[in-house]
């Protein structure tokens, strides 16, 4: 199957500053694709160029086989966009915003009301339909924007940090919608995030840093390639544990309160634990996370993702 988004050797410069540096990637139709990266990595720049708002400097970008520089109208018809910054018409009501959007995308008049009710129900804002946007909270505005991006049933939905600044419940809900829409309507989701736990849900994750894609794979494959599972052991007899770890040839790091042991070989680890079973006071097994992947590749943490 042909990829729905194709990017080849894309470069974007602002004056002399290179914000995106020769990146290439594909996104499969019907998948959830995430750009993960710290502030200033070039995520928004890439999204804005893909959705025809910015002009590329170099490269080929295609959506559904259409070139974003020469077939702008076709591309625009195929996509929905939720920008990083709000693009709502604040002096108008929620309904007026959605109706206007329907006019822009030529949604048949007979379906407009039905679709507005449907998307507002989806984001649980039905009672706010007649309220001015300026009267909504930040998270509600975000939900209105997501609802608006969906109302014309786009083939690809771009979401630039859709959940930043939302409370955990709303965040979880929005992810429910995203996954549901991807499954039921086969909408391809292209999103950016700083949250590792969100990236884990995606089918494919491209890690971006300093304008370059430093890794691009499924979350599972990324973790497999770049991280190790680890056991955190606290014991009453540290010397004995150290001796055992040496004999069984397990790598470890000694910390003031615990030992961090590489857990790639589970049977050996179990033997060590077995010999110490009466003196171990605390044991924790940790799987590698995308944050570890990021740390491993770039040598730094994603600032806002570390709490996940």
């Amino acid at each position: 199957m042909n990829p729905i988004i194709e990017v080849k050797n894309f470069t974007k410069r602002y004056g002399k500053f290179t914000a995106v540096d020769n990146i290439s990637f594909d996104v499969a139709e019907g998948s959830i694709f995430a750009f993960l990266g710290p502030n200033g990595a070039g995520k928004s720049t890439t999204i804005n160029t893909l959705c025809t708002i910015f002009e590329k400097t170099e490269g080929i970008l295609r959506i559904d086989g259409k070139d974003v520089s020469t077939q702008k109208s076709e591309v625009r018809r195929a996509i929905g966009v939720v920008f990083q910054d709000s693009t709502l018409d604040k002096k108008m009501t929620v309904e007026e915003n959605l109706k206007m959007h329907c006019v822009f995308y030529s949604v048949p008049k007979s379906e407009v009301n039905e679709r507005i009710s449907f998307v507002l129900e989806l984001v649980e804002l039905s009672e706010w339909r007649k309220k001015r946007v300026s009267a909504l909270s930040g998270g509600m505005k975000r939900r209105v924007e997501i609802a608006r991006g969906l109302i014309h049933y786009p083939k690809v939905l771009f979401l630039d940090e859709p959940t930043t600044g939302l409370d955990p419940q709303t965040r979880a809900h929005i992810w429910e919608y995203i996954v549901k829409l991807q499954k039921e309507k086969n909408i391809t989701m292209f999103l950016t995030t700083h949250y590792m736990d969100e990236a884990e849900i995606c089918n494919q994750v491209a890690i971006m840093d300093g304008g370059k894609i430093v890794a691009n794979d499924t979350p599972f494959a990324l973790k497999k390639q770049y991280t190790k599972d680890r056991a955190y052991i606290t014991t009453e007899r540290p010397e004995e544990l150290e001796r055992l770890l040496h004999t069984y040839n397990l790598d470890y790091i000694k910390k003031p309160k615990y030992y961090r042991v590489d857990a790639c070989n589970i049977p050996t680890l179990l033997q060590v634990l077995g010999e110490q079973k009466d003196v171990i006071t605390d044991l924790e097994l940790k799987k590698g996370t995308l944050n570890d992947v990021f740390l491993e590749i770039t040598g730094k943490e994603i600032r806002e993702g570390t709490k996940s």
């Binding site: 920008f83 002096k91 108008m92």
Partner: protein, 276 residues
């Protein structure tokens, strides 16, 4: 066409919802008429009230249509223009909606002055005149909406636009004959007023509202409804043609510069920093 109307309706709604601006724009005509009727009272022109009112009305159309065009900048700063421009609607209809709403609001304001005018002595002999006046105001509204959008798309920040629009509209209104008869101006300024498109809009609109389309040329020149520039007589019809050219040029230029707006180059105005 649907988009043009929808965008125009939205701008009209916004204009009405902005209470302070609405109240100001309703009080504004009364104020102007009060101030300028004092200036015009002892003038030589026959029917000074009508003469003055026509001038104020058309200058108001000019002022409002130019100013309403600048809401485009607010829409860019608030981000809404991004939503519009990422959708498949043509740039032409987006610009069209902007022109139409500017022209409509300008005309409404002009009409408000004329309506007040009827209570203080403005007279016409046939109701057809009022229809011609409205058509003329819509025409002038479009002409200067194009000019306004051109300024707006090329300044990209509300503050800059405000400075530039004052720097341009002030001299344009005062050197147009709308408030101050041109013969009161020093000769050098008279020449400047001849290259001022508003001068011709004023002349055209006055000719229509004073029902002077059939008046002999010498009389028109005496009343500043036509101009003799270096032996060439600019009749009201030539004024209309001149305005048509000016309007078409700026409608075209502003639509082009609007269509070319590359958002990666729009300065990140106050509205763009809203963070989620």
């Amino acid at each position: 066409m649907k988009t043009v109307l929808a965008l125009c309706m939205r701008n009209l709604k916004e204009f009405v919802r902005n209470r302070t601006r609405l109240i100001f724009s309703i009080i504004f005509p009364f104020f102007f008429i009060y101030v300028f009727s004092a200036i015009f009272r002892n003038d030589y022109i026959e029917n000074p009230i009508s003469h003055m009112l026509a001038g104020i009305a058309i200058a108001t159309v000019f002022d409002f249509s130019l100013r309403i065009s600048s809401t485009t900048i607010d829409d860019m700063a608030s981000g809404f223009m991004k939503e519009v421009l990422v959708s498949p609607v043509s740039r032409l209809s987006v610009a069209g909606g902007q022109f139409l709403s500017s022209a409509v609001i300008g005309t409404m304001q002009g009409l408000l002055i004329i309506i007040i005018g009827f209570f203080i002595g403005f007279r016409i002999t046939t109701p057809l005149t009022i229809i011609y006046m409205i058509l003329a105001m819509i025409f002038v509204g479009f002409v200067f909406a194009g000019f306004g959008l051109f300024l707006a798309t090329n300044t990209k920040s509300t503050q800059t636009f405000q400075v530039i629009s004052v720097a341009i509209t002030m001299p344009m209104t005062f050197l147009s004959g709308a408030y101050i008869p041109l013969e009161h101006l020093p000769p050098t300024l008279t020449y400047i007023s001849y290259i001022n498109p508003l001068t011709y809009a004023v002349a055209l609109f006055r000719t229509i509202s004073l029902e002077r389309l059939a008046t002999p040329q010498s009389q028109l020149i005496a009343e500043e409804l036509a101009f003799e520039i270096g032996g060439f007589v600019v009749t009201p019809w030539i004024s209309a043609l001149f305005l048509l050219g000016f309007g078409a040029l700026f409608l075209l230029l502003s639509t082009i510069s609007f269509a070319r707006t590359d958002f990666s180059k729009v300065s990140r105005g106050a509205g763009e920093q809203i963070d989620w």
